[in-house]
Symmetry: C3
Subunit: 340 residues, 3 copies
């Protein structure tokens, strides 16, 4: 097994000295032995997953030890910091045991080092404190009221953008080749591949994302991945494992189009379309039609999970949900009964 990750971070601690968030400008994924050694010795790291607060002294030692130019540059800038600094070592991709670890894994997703569902996020919720994300930075929610009053009295407003366990991605990283029209709707831990555009109505949770290129105008729930050249329409919904979708992990294949105000509770293969306004849940009865629009069989949508080349509509004459394919009846029958 490779060593999992090392990250140099600068973050925020509350008045009790507990980390409430950490920013890693350039996290390292699967460092080689030489790199591990250069980072370990100056701070006395031996093994396991741990976060070690840095001092001016250990930073000086790291500057001498680390060879990578970009990392060395970060360390030099860290010296002038008024904020606490940390180095986090993750020897293995184990359950998350601290706030700096949680933030490092979220960074790895957003830096495209790991894809959604390919990193162990067990234990993340208790390690993410609820934070007020404000114009003065991250503030422990307990400390917020006093800060708000103080700001007010000096004629300023303490702008509170969010009160949440997860910060927004864009204040931590701007992935290359990406547009995010309204950054409040993409959490740190979202994976946005090159060529992804997230419009104002788009939303991407942590551990979710799009391989890119693609257009996101709807909501990618936790665990959902959208493949290349697909379009998730305005307000379109994907059921997440945290919000009603049950144990099935939803995904969207390549070249798919989910219409505006539509939704899916099943994973879709490549080249699928759901018409605007139609919500397919796993238990929706679907009339399957062959390439000549002849009815083949009535099935629950979950039987069609992952199939390519499907067009879902609600027949506007009968109200019946239909799935049209470009396959013949015999071929369809074989697909439908493959798992029986």
């Amino acid at each position: 097994m490779s060593f999992f990750s090392i990250g140099l971070g600068v973050g925020t601690q509350n008045r009790s000295g507990q980390w409430i968030e950490v920013y890693y400008p350039a996290p390292i994924f699967q460092p080689d032995d030489e790199t591990i050694s250069q980072f370990s010795s100056p701070v006395g790291y031996h093994d396991g997953n741990t976060a070690i607060e840095l001092t001016d002294d250990t930073i000086d030692k790291l500057i001498s030890s680390v060879e990578d130019a970009a990392q060395k540059d970060i360390l030099k800038q860290f010296k002038a910091s008024e904020q606490p600094r940390v180095i986090t070592f993750l020897a293995a991709d184990d359950e998350i045991a601290s706030t700096p670890e949680a933030y490092l894994k979220l960074h790895l997703l957003s830096h495209r080092a790991v894809k959604p569902n390919k990193v162990n996020l067990d234990g993340i919720f208790p390690q993410l404190p609820n934070v007020a994300w404000t114009s003065e930075g991250a503030i422990d929610v307990e400390e917020l009221p006093a800060r708000q009053l103080t700001a007010r009295l000096r004629g300023e407003v303490l702008e509170v953008q969010s009160i949440d366990k997860f910060p927004k991605l864009a204040n931590y990283h701007a992935p290359s080749g990406v547009r995010i029209a309204h950054t409040a709707r993409v959490r740190l831990g979202a994976y946005l591949g090159e060529g992804t555009t997230v419009m104002h109505e788009g939303f991407v949770n942590f551990n979710a994302g799009a391989i890119g290129p693609g257009m996101i105008e709807g909501r990618l729930s936790q665990g959902v991945i959208m493949e290349a050249n697909s379009d998730l329409g305005g307000s379109a919904s994907t059921m997440g494992t945290l919000s009603g979708g049950g144990e099935i992990i939803i995904s969207i294949g390549k070249d798919c189009l989910i219409g505006a105000n539509a939704g899916t509770g099943i994973p879709l293969g490549d080249n699928c379309t759901i018409e605007a306004g139609l919500y397919i849940t796993a238990s929706t009865f679907v009339q399957v039609l062959d390439n000549e629009k002849n009815p083949v069989e009535m099935v629950k949508a979950r039987e069609l999970a992952g199939q390519p080349d499907m067009l879902f509509i609600r027949n506007s004459k009968t109200g019946q949900v239909e799935c049209r394919t470009n396959k013949q009846a015999r071929e369809l029958n074989e697909i439908l009964h493959a798992h029986n």
Copy 2:
């Protein structure tokens, strides 16, 4: 009748000296006589609903008079303020007659002193000026263009977050035990009970809210209350009395699940579900099915208002809207004809 409320506030006035907003860090609901007396004497208050601007002198007197430690501390901090300060007395819950009164009532809702629809908000709209909510605080919209140009020329941007009569809750108060993933979507005057999470797509208007705990990923319109342990799905809609719902006040009972992209135009009792993507309006015809899925009667949805244990779906084979219950046919017939 109890005395209604007293609030110590700091706010913003426009260039004409008119209040455009007031922040009350700790509004007092139904103060006892002793408290009323301590706040009244120093500022010469006698009766009625009124807002009195505070001076350093009256603040000194209040500090001497007021015994409550938290209120005394606010008064001490007020002394150093560069912003105008006010004390607002509401002897009775009457029609709103000033901007400081309007803001005090909105605070009472958000501080959980009063529940939605339990406070008199008549006359609120004319008392709430349209304000530009900016990174430099509240600005009268008339004064905005000059401020924008000035900021630009010194190389800054005057960030205008909102141009609206209502500010966002989180810049005034962060209710305990609450997450608001994107604060721009919750207005001051929203009631968010302990354990409420408002996700990015959630929206809560003033005089609306959730008793908590609960999950809000859809829109709670003005006047709508959601009871404990319910989940309003992504983009789910509740019709409001200000926006098309007519005179019926919508509510959502305990243990309800409104699916993503669904909606309701009727109040729901406890333990109700509306499937994802289905919008029930008051005039939707609904086929009621008993606990053995036998049809009982076709009714308009408004006849089902407030009933518990209902599951609404659109039959995906027939397009018909159905309501399944866990009741027998005879029991259902009695319920349906109780009001005939």
Copy 3:
């Protein structure tokens, strides 16, 4: 042909000296010859569409030359600017050839000088660089990571509001008589007429808008215009030419009501209603009913494009999409077959 526009602007350049955005506080639409002359001579402008960077020297000359009090005042304020200043001349409404030109046209839309679809926006996308819109102003996305780290180390957060080609309207202009509850959802280039309210869920793209008065709680896609006294419900969708609507330009007539979570893929005439939750696409089969609710004909929705007085519902007993009108069967037949 009239001269198209002149604009005095202050903007942002990246480190390479390229314009990344321009703010025009008071763009001039169709100036008369005398005005053109007053602006041209001091900067040596002759003809064509061009943007000329201003110096303290040319600003002095313009102050002497320009007679209009508002423009002269802007010029005087420009003298103290730390930001680069520009004057943009558009002799004709031609294809867009530079960033300052693109921004001037977007301003003209938002200042209500031109209506959506009435200005030539060809070539706009390549002239709009992808910009990080932050609390420190517009930043070239390439320059963002270094700025983020620097801000962090001094204990501040560089708030990144958006990474997009288009900025939000409200940081450039606040149209009179308008409320925008959440400004992140209205792009520069939106046209918001007097009396328009955009609620939190509303969205207005560039080259789209509402004539006003009206209520926008849904999404107006690029190219879509809504006429007076109409209401676009929460999350309601209008298909845009950029996002799946094909070549038909969608519009919404006067006195229309598009229900919450509804949508339209056809233009609507005056006095039309789409019930909450119903999405009409151009190819939806619609059963047309006359004023006595008798079926007249089954047509595709596109045949009904632009007709007034239509009420669209999905029959909740049959699942069939219906259009009820206040017209008689014979009259309807004539309308439906007028284009055959």
